[in-house]
């Protein structure tokens, strides 16, 4: 359970460029819900994710995770139970380290990074197995540096790495936006599979309306720091792309575009 209550967030507070993004924003995401978030640029989608993860501070309000107030918790401590995949495939992996070393790093999340061997030899077969599920042939390239892989391969690894250890929440920040349509499709199918297998509470920001409609059991459309569409479960199943597009147009006219 993730609760955002009475969130206020201003950018450039106290200057002439002051911009209010969120004012009394509230959102509750129950366990095991898969939320797709859409909205135009600047509508607050990524800011919402950054507030949840603690990458940017909020001005007032509270964020609770499973009932515990995490508003003042630093980013790295929050990410203990959160997996996050970024738009940029380079953010989720270490380019200068090999595939095996990257997998080992991810596997050690939540443990002490002490003087034990970085790679546990007994785990290599497990890594190979999970890489095999990607169907990209990475299981035979364990000693290859991640920097030479393609964006799609790296994003697939980033997804695998962020969900490797037991986590409760998965934050996907336009994670298919930088990929070609076919790779994006593969990554999306893989995402859905992992979310279902691990029963993760997921928030996915996307610009691809088809993914937003097709995947997940709740759809939120953001506009000027508010959720202008919020449908869950059966209501979500009925929603059509045309309806979201119509809303987009309506908003654009309001803004004078």
């Amino acid at each position: 359970m993730l609760e955002l209550s009475h969130i206020d967030k201003y950018y450039n507070a106290g200057t002439v460029n002051e911009m209010c993004l969120f004012q009394d924003f509230n959102l509750t995401i129950p366990d095991h819900q898969f939320v797709s978030v859409v909205g135009s640029n600047g509508s607050g989608k990524t800011s919402m994710l950054n507030l949840i993860c603690g990458s940017i501070p909020l001005d007032s309000g509270h964020i609770r995770m499973n009932g515990k107030d995490i508003t003042r918790l630093p980013e790295h401590k929050r990410l203990r139970s959160i997996g996050r995949v970024y738009q940029n495939p380079a953010m989720g992996t270490c380019p200068q380290m090999t595939i095996l070393e990257n997998m080992s790093l991810a596997d050690n999340k939540g443990r002490a990074f002490n003087l034990r061997p970085g790679t546990n030899r007994q785990r290599i077969d497990t890594y190979r197995e999970s890489l095999k599920t990607l169907g990209l042939g990475l299981e035979d390239k364990l000693d290859v540096k991640v920097g030479v892989l393609s964006g799609g391969q790296r994003q697939a690894m980033a997804l695998l790495m962020s969900t490797m250890t037991p986590i409760e929440f998965l934050i996907l920040d336009e994670h298919t936006a930088a990929l070609d349509p076919k790779t994006a499709e593969t990554i999306m199918i893989l995402t859905d599979k992992i979310v279902k297998e691990k029963n993760l509470t997921t928030i996915m920001v996307t610009h691809n309306l088809r993914y937003a409609v097709e995947y997940g059991n709740r759809l939120i459309m953001m506009h000027q720091g508010n959720a202008v569409i919020d449908r869950a479960d059966e209501e979500k199943q009925k929603i059509k792309i045309d309806e979201i597009l119509a809303k987009f147009n309506e908003i654009s006219i309001e803004c004078g575009n």
Binding site: R84, C94, M97, S104, L105, F113, N114, R116, P117, G118
Partner: protein
Amino acid sequence: MLTTIIGVLEEGLVYAIMALGVYITYKILDFPDLSVDSTFPMGAAVTAVSIIAGVPPVFTLPLTFLAGAVAGCITGLIHVKLKVRDLLSGIIVMTALYSINLRIAGKANLPIFSQETIFDNAFLEGIIPPSLAPYTVLIILFIIVLVCKILLDLYLKTRSGYLLRAAGDNEVLVTSLAKDKGTVKILGLAIANGFAALAGCIYCQQKGFFEISMGTGTIVIGLANVIIGTQLFRRISFVKATTAVIIGSILYKACVSIALSLGGAIHIGRVTISIPITASDLKLATSVLFLIILVLGGRQGKKVKNHA
């Protein structure tokens, strides 16, 4: 000639230890750490004072490493906790340590010529055969450098070492792994300055004195060593980066030595050209050679921060 080669190898090896530290900050963490300019003489100051006070020479090695590590932690804390830019944090610590070093040593110049050192003591005299005597320093240096290299290689393969490499490669991932990237940086700086101080300790015992300005230009030598080594061996995958850095240190020292030996008069036919290079041009030669290496190294002086 042989004496010159031994001299080059000896100095190259001493600076190789410091270069291993610079390798951590510059290549792994991508942090241009200037504090080594003062942690190197700090190592020498601590050594000179300890040896005069009767501390067995071998114990000065871990002692100076610790002292350097503390200084490195301070650079790290200034950068991470007080959010001062990397270059400036190094400069602040470098400047402050100048006074601290004077306080440790008590004066600007502290000789330890008559004292026992790791290179010259009763135990060594007993085990080294007279035929090897001219190479004693070289052999001991080689062993110390080898141990440092192996320890660093082993460390970089531990979980903590993995995290250190990740911190330089992709900070975001360290945060994603629920670890504080600042702590990892501080740790890296501590190890790096530990190595720099250790090099200063060995330099002091080899030369037989501490001198306040002995650290000037240490960072330039360190960077040159690291860049020569990693550039020369970048296509040869079986040579570890640490080995490359050690070989780079010796090569760089050889280059500087050759540059300084160019001084004097050259006769081409009837024309005599005199090149006015003397030993006092050491720092100039050091810098100019470093510049040449930077330019020849394909302008890769700064690690490209482009991850995509």
